[in-house]
């Protein structure tokens, strides 16, 4: 019974957007992928939720600026396990054009482990959707092994 539920659970990913000091470019692409009927993420069961407590998959954009770092980490801890993180855009991996700037201490993945990375500045909506689908595989493994992504 538990196995069956674990197998079915990744068919209902609820998505939460976490803006870690992004320039809004990636956020617009994520909103496009979600809001307009053309890219229909609901067909893989996705729903965008406003509350981090409902989320399964977190889409993180932006280089994690010094100013929002503590708030982002607090919101990230509010998301119940098991959760999967998807870094959207180049900023979460390398800092992008904000790299070595005075306001970005480090790339996001020094603080939050990223499971899937969708590169691009900004990435196309199709790429974001593919990132979500890849995150489902990570989630499947995480459910069977019962591992956590942040202590």
């Amino acid at each position: 019974m538990r196995n069956l539920i674990n197998k079915l659970a990744p068919r209902s990913p609820w998505i939460y957007r976490l803006n870690a000091g992004s320039c809004n470019g990636c956020d617009v692409e994520m909103a496009t992928a979600a809001l307009i009927p053309r890219y229909d993420v609901e067909r893989i069961g996705c729903k965008y939720c406003g509350s981090p407590r409902h989320a399964d998959i977190v889409l993180i954009s932006g280089p994690l600026t010094v100013r929002v770092r503590d708030k982002v980490l607090r919101v990230f801890d509010e998301i119940p396990h098991p959760k999967v993180t998807v870094g959207v855009g180049v900023c979460p991996v390398s800092g992008g054009c904000f790299r070595d700037g005075y306001s970005t201490g480090a790339p996001t993945d020094h603080y939050i482990p990223l499971d899937v990375i969708v590169p691009g500045c900004p990435p196309r909506p199709q790429a974001i959707i593919e990132g979500i689908v890849k995150a489902l595989d990570v989630w499947r493994v995480r459910l069977t092994e019962a591992t956590c992504c942040r202590s």
Partner: protein
């Protein structure tokens, strides 16, 4: 003794319980699928609401440290139990006429606000400002939509009672419609039918009346702090609540079956619920945005209540 057995069966298996849960999840799935097709999308699979509930049971339950834990855990259970009991009272035309002594529309008036009460309890127990905001919005909109509901109930009771006064028994209302045709086709009752049609999205919080749980404004309001199995319980509650309000409108206005066969009547009943869902929730939700709280309140007071009261007045004059 047999009465107790009958009531247990009604609450756990047939009109309430398993049947209501399955029907509710099916109706929610149809709602999402048809909405997607109206927007020319593929949409989620039909079993998506069930998958959501199953998924939520695998998640961790987080409780805010400032929340009142007992009320926080109790609210979803209370809500689900309340709607299951309400679903058990609902008659299914041609199949089931309710447990004798339970079916009365005055009882329904007491049972129907339970899910809204559970949401209010959840919102206030979660100690979140957004939860409190959702609580106050839920309460305000509830005061607004109770009025047309009560007026439509009274209109039906007066119309069925005729010169003999008013009849509040669901059995009598069903028997009247089996004998004289559905009240939906009665010109006197048409305004009340319209008011009930507006009451359904009002109590389900969809379309224009998505005020207490508005995602972009109050972030799901009362449900903000819920996660895991407790949120799954709230999802089930909302599914059964949908069944209850649809079955209520069907029982009051159009309970007629298609003949003697029980299975045909049951399928007809499900079809009527589905048709009502499509008109009052899905198409309405696809075509409209959201009102402000004061506009939503004024909508019920200015337009919906007078419709129901008009039916009530006509039913009094013409009896």
């Amino acid at each position: 003794m047999s009465n107790i057995l009958e009531a247990t069966f009604a609450i756990l298996i047939f009109p309430g319980g398993a049947f209501a849960l399955a029907l509710g999840l099916f109706l929610k799935g149809m709602d999402r699928k048809v909405l997607a097709r109206l927007q020319r999308r593929v949409g989620p699979p039909l079993i998506q609401p069930l998958l959501d509930v199953l998924k939520l049971t695998t998640k961790e339950t987080l409780i805010p440290t400032t929340a009142n834990e007992l009320a926080f855990r109790l609210a979803p259970v209370l809500g689900l139990t309340g709607v299951l009991v309400t679903a058990a009272v609902m008659p299914v035309g041609g199949v089931w006429s309710g447990v004798s002594g339970l079916g009365d529309i005055l009882v329904l008036l007491y049972l129907l606000p339970i899910p809204a009460m559970a949401l209010m309890l959840a919102g206030s127990a979660s100690s979140s400002p957004y939860g409190a905001l959702g609580f106050s919005r839920e309460m305000a909109i509830m005061f607004a939509y109770e009025m047309p509901l009560i007026a439509s109930f009274l209109a039906v009771a007066v119309r069925v009672g005729g010169a003999g006064g008013s009849l509040f028994s669901l059995d009598a209302i069903m028997a009247y419609q089996f004998a004289n045709g559905p009240l939906l086709l009665d010109p006197v009752m048409m305004p009340a039918a319209l008011a009930l049609l507006i009451f359904i999205p009002g109590t389900m919080g969809s379309g224009l009346f998505d005020i207490p749980e508005a995602e972009p404004e109050v972030i799901e309001g009362p449900l903000l702090e819920y996660s895991g199995p407790l949120l799954a319980t709230f999802n089930l509650m909302s599914a059964v609540k949908l069944v209850v309000v649809l079955e209520l409108a069907v029982a009051l206005l159009w309970p007629n079956g298609l003949g003697g066969n029980v299975l045909v009547n049951l399928a007809w009943h499900v079809f009527k619920c589905l048709a009502l869902l499509m008109v009052s929730v899905t198409c309405f939700r696809a075509a409209t945005g959201r009102l402000r709280l004061d506009q939503g309140f004024a909508f019920f007071v200015k337009y919906t209540s007078p419709l129901a009261l008009m039916s009530l007045g006509l039913a009094y004059i013409l009896r």
